[in-house]
Amino acid sequence: MSDNKTLSFTDFRARVGDLRGKEYWRSLEELSRSDVFDDFMHQEFPQQAVALDKGVDRRDFMKLMGASVAMAGLAACAPPAETIVPYVNQPESLIPGKPLFFASAMPLGGVATGVLVESHMNRPTKIEGNPSHPTSMGASDALMQAAVLGLYDPDRSQVVRKLGDTATWGDFIAALQPVVTAAKTNGSGLRILTQTITSPTLGAQMQALLAQYPGMKWHQWEPVNADGVREGNRLAFGSYVHTHYDFTKANVVVSLGSDFLGAGPGHLRYARDFMSRRRIRNGAKAMNRLYALEGSMSNTGSVADHRVVVKPSQIEDFARQILAGQSAHPVVATLIKDLQANRGASVVIAGDEQPAAVHAIAQAINTQLGNIGTTVRVTDPIEVAPVNQLASLMELVRDMNAGRVQALIILGGNPVFDAPADLQFRKALEKVPFRAHHSLYYDETSLLSHWHVPDTHWLETWGDARGHDGTVSIIQPLIAPLYNGRSVHEVVGALIGGLDQTAYQTVRKYWFANGATEDTWRRWLHDGIIPNSALPVKGGAATAPPPTANRQPATEGIELELRHDPTIYDGRFANNSWLQELPKPQTKITWDNVLIVGPKTADKIGFDTDDRSELFNLKKTRFAEVAYRGVTMRLPVWVVPGYAEDVATVYFGYGRLAGGSVATEKGKGFNTYPLRFSNALHGGPGAKITIDRGSKPYPVACTQEHQSIDPKDVGERGIIRSATLAGYIANPKFAQDPHHGSDVSGHGSESMYPDWDYSNNHAWAMVIDTSVCTGCNGCVAACQAENNIATVGKEEVVREREMHWLRIDRYYRGEVENPEVFHQPVPCMQCELAPCEPVCPVEATSHSDDGLNDMTYNRCVGTRYCSNNCPYKVRRFNFFHYADYDTPALKPMRNPDVTVRTRGVMEKCTYCVQRINAAKIEAEKENRRVRDGEVVTACQQACPTQAIVFGDMNDPKSEVAQLKAQHHHYALLEELQTRPRTTYLGNVRNPHPDLATPHKADTGHEG
């Protein structure tokens, strides 16, 4: 290593001043431009730095060679024999070789998002959003995409257990009899704990149960709950109501700690609606404006026009200032003016994690501005029985401790793991004489229960649930239960006494009693929604301004912010390796949870720049000791820009002790639920954090700098090109290279290689609008599911061997404490003059007639020359046999239209060529050209904001051709003359003119 000339924090502040307007950066290490970082940057193949663990001597070498030659001979003998098994009676609608799509809905936190599930010969393989469903609008997120892996997961619980031993459903029913008999006389001993329920059928079943066993109590708890929203709305409107928002009508949006674009009920719809006002096309003069107040960096904050970095505990004060209409903070003062100017066309939205008071204030502001009824819609609750879930859980714990609970049946959830630490749920649970747990995995709660009943995945059972606006979807199964699961309707049905009722019968019976006929039922199933079932919008106004909270201002220590994990949620997806390996949107960390702090805080706790830079190159970090409310915990520290000073964020969901091999071994991480207290569910002040310099550094699999393009090698206009709206209006061509002019295709410019002729063919191309990308990862997960992309595990990610074909690069600009953030999805560019093609010695990568850089896996011999020569670093190599060929449960999950790659093979994005070919074949059969919009790539289909547009740029009417004609259209590294087919639209932001301190480049007048 070099002699470590690193800069101190103040030095690189000074550096930022110099570079303002000129340079975008991805990490603090890059910003400091230390020699350490430069070394790191210039290792062409850092993967190769890992040598064999021990040397191989000559004799071993001969043995290995001999063996491989012999085996190579054996393997080449003859193709394996195969059989074909036709149906006995073939279903009418099923054509072998063609997928069918079924509408269903994925419930999360009780709220349904409509999906269309692709089914190959009755095996669900891929999930898409349902365009008719108001919560999805055809978009999907990473959690939806990963649900197919969750379905086939062989670690799921497969059998009923009694005290850990195998039992049967019949045994469980028999064991229930004394419980229900007792409940008939003294119902109060029987308790049921569920998660949030919006399902009308399950609601009716629960009501029937309550009627049958008077005194029985129903408790609800989910660690990611909307208690703050519910209680805040009750404060504001007088009773439990549900609110949802219409961002299409909002000119100004203020987020009070809300990540409405990234998580929570309706976030896909909100992202679609919000970004529909930010699509800049030629001649655009207006767009909406987003102010975000937050302590940590969320997806929403990362695309805000103004991001105010505040401690989470200060958000309430700022909310009150907005309500009062005056603030000393310059941005907040402008924000107030902006809101006043857009009465009835603005939204103030508080985060789900915010306390009830903030929600009440937000609704009071919305009422003041006349937004209720226009942009804010108030309806009856979507939950069948809205309660304060924390109070409900606390009541249950109190009663368990007092011995008042004779039997507890837990339907879903994992309270032993995720209940607030101070409630000591585990101890209380052990006092209950009869405990049963119904869940997908044999998890922490199952271990402490007498009985465990495996649940069904939502893809294998019937059900129903409401979307974010109350629209009901019938959940229909795509496959019979794989692992002997029983649906929640069956378990509750068994308690009621209807033993023979299947979930299908229960759901159907409910809806036939509520207006369904055979015709409408079929229509509902086909469409995926029950039409006009959205809850009617009520009038109403938030009444009396909420009382001033009695809080002590936090002066000491660091404020801890507790959030659910962006990929594995509250821990329920911890066994899903797709989600584990998905880089967390803002930190780009995989397989782990860390303590996230800003650089100033890092300095304060003793993790200084020198130390960080040195460890960074080793992809490691230090542990910190966190002392918070009497709990101490060691967590690895990760330093991220854009954090409020004295704020540390911790994600919960990791550190599972049971519930699958991925959750408990490969992706274990650290259990941070012990930091969660019932009176501070989302964190609080008073944490003491000190760096443990003596401990062994901890490796972190962060993809931040992987497959990077060195900014120094980039032309003067850079990788990210951005402007303010005013700058765009002044110079719409801000993104174009002054030297290459508007001709980003590069045609007519000098090149050593002859041009391809595409005039008689399609010319597939993609344009990505960076203005509307939120960095949500939906596209990355969709690509993984569509293209059978393998996961590699934490150690391999550390070696930069992750296989995602599509990555989202995240760049910062400006101040370290509050930088602007830019997201840039980077798939294969499909260059017309591709550097990868001429260097392949075996022509495994070659040019197709319609301009794709084909990748022929069976030809590849793994020289990796192509990857070496790719300036965009979009090629991925199978260093080992990452694809799991052996696990039988995972075989039916794969997309049969895409080859599963083996070891030693290069792979990359080919614009979902399987989808292109399928569309081309259908068009050719009708002797016509493929119509615009007929080919939709997996990433495009998933994208909630429609940032990705794909099509044939030879067709001048196609959307992609029109986007290529936009003034702010540009190509990445266009000066390399690769003529990429994937191009970008420059990023346009809309800061308030009073506040804009434009970067030079933003005004469109580069000096």
């Binding site: 003859a78 193709p79 024999a81 195969e82 059989t83 074909i84 098994v85 036709p86 149906y87 006995v88 009676n89 073939q90 054509i95 072998p96 070789g97 063609k98 070659s846 040019h847 197709s848 007639d849 794709l852 084909d854 990748m855 022929t856 896996y857 069976n858 030809r859 239209d897 895409v898 080859t899 599963v900 080919t910 060529v913 399987q914 070919n917 074949i921 050719e924 059969k925 002797n927």
Partner: protein
Amino acid sequence: MAQIFHRSANTLSRVTIFGAVFIAGFVLWVIGGIVRSPYFTNQGNALEQVVPFSHQHHVGGLGIDCRYCHTSVETSSFAGIPPTSTCMNCHSQIWTNASMLEPVRASFRTGKPLVWNRVHRLPDYVHFNHSIHVAKGVGCASCHGRIDKMNLVYQASPLTMEWCLDCHRAPEKFIRPREEVFNMGYVAKNQATLGPELVKRYGVKSMTHCSTCHY
């Protein structure tokens, strides 16, 4: 100092060097021959099936159309293997006691499918689509041979990539009018003039880039 090698060593070394080129060439030629041979490609190898179904009898003798059983050949990548119920359409009425058909009846009775041995097998990294070939005028017999003359079906063509490319490079030599696709005995009278005309009429392209089949 005396010579170590005899003079004849010169000739020997020349022959060896010269010969090595030929030997290497010969070895490659042999390998090339082997991988194209029926031993490797399974060409001409009739497989035993659970029911000795005779295409000769059903197609050649009775004149049943290919699509009666292979229903998805015009719509899907997979031509389709008939479900047991298709067999029983006729065999619930005729040959109802034939012992040869007992597996079919058993399948229909028990609901357990018949298991056929696959004759035409492409590797998993090749994506072949029947429907587009049929739509563009590639006859069944062009690839599958005279099925109507086979008792047990065997693979008539080598199914090597080279063989695929023969047609993909010059489709005009092989394609036939759409109405003759399912005609087993079709013989073109004037392929030299008809071929180019059909290529134009059906919009047939010579597709030879890799992602036509490999992805």
